[in-house]
């Protein structure tokens, strides 16, 4: 067995305050060559990045805020969604360790615990000559925070189980070990296995749900994803395929 199955977290940078761990790690890795698996963790983000203008809200030292540098140059460009699958599964695995049978992946990469969002993922790739030369994986995982002022849909591990005292470092260790496990699977080419697991883990899969697309509401059931990661929904007009941004689910 290779010693290099533990790539993620071998090198670790902790900064007490940054604008955003993704921005900070992008700057560090643009400035000089940094090793794959480097983790940059922060105690606090002054401008945590969600997707585009969305902010990620987190109190000081209560949650995990980190970004990971990966160089998945073994993936073809049309396999880019498999990176999202591997990371989403790793975060879901972490939550499942503390909350068996209660965590799901809300397409495409939010992690849901008891119908609320407990973790968000932001993946930013650099593409050169049809290869992913660099990938920055941002993960926010709510652990100890008791209140979210700006989001009624957010939750934390501590909110979901107030009898258990969560240890931030223990959750960090678990997350890193889950990420290594899933990234190793991905490197070994287990893309189909991971895609099937991802589909099995989809929030509201096979349950009648209300969706909004182009200001129209309709009923349907999530049944899976296609090869490029688009969501497949069974509706009364048959099977429909949706890209991100085209559709919202009511929950």
């Amino acid at each position: 067995m290779s010693i290099n199955t533990h790539i993620i977290g071998q090198k670790y940078i902790y900064i007490d305050k940054v604008q955003s761990t993704n921005i900070e790690l992008a700057m560090l890795s643009n400035h000089s060559e940094r090793p794959e698996g480097l983790v940059l963790r922060a105690g606090f983000q002054t401008g945590g990045k969600g997707q585009f203008e969305n902010l990620w809200e987190s109190n000081n030292n209560e949650n995990l805020l980190l970004s990971i540098l990966l160089k998945p140059d073994f993936l073809e460009i049309d396999q880019v969604f498999s990176l999202n699958i591997a990371i989403s599964l790793a975060v879901k695995d972490t939550i499942l360790f503390f909350f068996p049978n209660q965590a799901y992946i809300k397409w495409s990469n939010d992690i849901i615990l008891n119908d609320k969002k407990v973790s968000g993922i932001l993946i930013e790739n650099n593409i050169l000559e049809k290869k992913i030369s660099k990938s920055i994986i941002g993960i926010g995982l709510n652990v100890l925070q008791q209140e979210f002022k700006n989001s009624s849909q957010a939750t934390s591990l501590a909110i979901q189980d107030n009898l258990y005292t969560f240890d931030l470092e223990l959750v960090y260790d678990k997350l890193i070990s889950c990420l290594n496990f899933r990234y190793n699977e991905l490197r070994s080419g287990w893309l189909v296995k991971q895609k099937n697991e991802y589909i099995q883990s989809l929030y509201k899969r096979n349950l009648d749900s209300i969706f909004i697309s182009d200001q129209n509401e309709f009923h349907g059931k999530i049944i899976g994803i296609d090869s490029s990661g688009r969501l497949l929904i069974e509706t009364e007009h048959g099977r429909q395929t949706y890209q991100n941004g085209q559709i919202k689910m009511r929950y």
């Binding site: 067995m1 290779s2 010693i3 290099n4 199955t5 533990h6 790539i7 977290g9 071998q10 090198k11 670790y12 940078i13 902790y14 900064i15 007490d16 305050k17 060559e33 090793p35 794959e36 698996g37 997707q51 585009f52 203008e53 160089k71 140059d73 460009i77 049309d78 880019v80 969604f81 990176l83 999202n84 495409s108 990469n109 932001l122 993946i123 930013e124 790739n125 650099n126 593409i127 050169l128 000559e129 049809k130 290869k131 030369s133 660099k134 070990s177 290594n180 496990f181 190793n184 699977e185 490197r187 070994s188 490029s228 990661g229 688009r230 890209q243 991100n244 941004g245």
Partner: protein
């Protein structure tokens, strides 16, 4: 940070087997390298089935050093029209000219760009892909409006090569 805390941290790093730790608190910076442990083995039952990987340290990101001429002749999403070169989309997604609505565009018409310069973002299923130019030259035309969907191989920019 107290000396005692630093000592505990060093002890922790040497025991955890992590090879390098950097810490930053305001102006205070600390870097600890674990030279003895050559990356530890974490035994996890399911991992034992897996094959050994190459040294990840050896795998460097592809360096941007190919001259422009080579890029043009390579089977890449670039095609020549007269003396202008078309940069095409390497993937399906949504085309963005800047990293967020309040940020300036990565490139504008008239800009001189070098190989490896980020020219746009293509978002696909919430993955944000910064596309780097495979050629150096001057941006002559931007062929797609901001926030529009693009197809694989769809022309994005016209560039006058150096």
């Amino acid at each position: 940070m107290e000396i005692k805390e630093i000592r505990e941290l060093i002890k922790f790093v040497s025991q955890s087997g992590v090879s390098e730790v950097e810490l930053e608190q305001g102006d205070f910076k600390l870097s600890i390298k674990n030279v003895n442990s050559n990356a530890p083995v974490y035994m996890q039952a399911p991992m034992q089935q897996m094959q050994a990987y190459q040294q990840p340290q050896v795998q460097q990101a592809p360096q941007i050093s190919a001259p422009a001429v080579e890029s043009v002749s390579a089977p890449t999403p670039v095609s020549s029209e007269g003396n202008l070169i078309t940069i095409k989309s390497p993937m399906i997604g949504t085309f963005y000219r800047s990293s967020s609505p309040d940020k300036p565009s990565f490139v504008n018409v008239g800009d001189e760009i070098k190989t490896g310069k980020v020219i746009c973002i293509i978002e696909a299923m919430k993955l944000f892909n910064e596309i780097e130019s495979e050629i150096g030259g001057k941006i002559v035309k931007v062929l797609v409006e901001n926030a529009q969907p693009v197809e694989y191989d769809q022309p994005l920019f016209l560039v006058e090569p150096n």
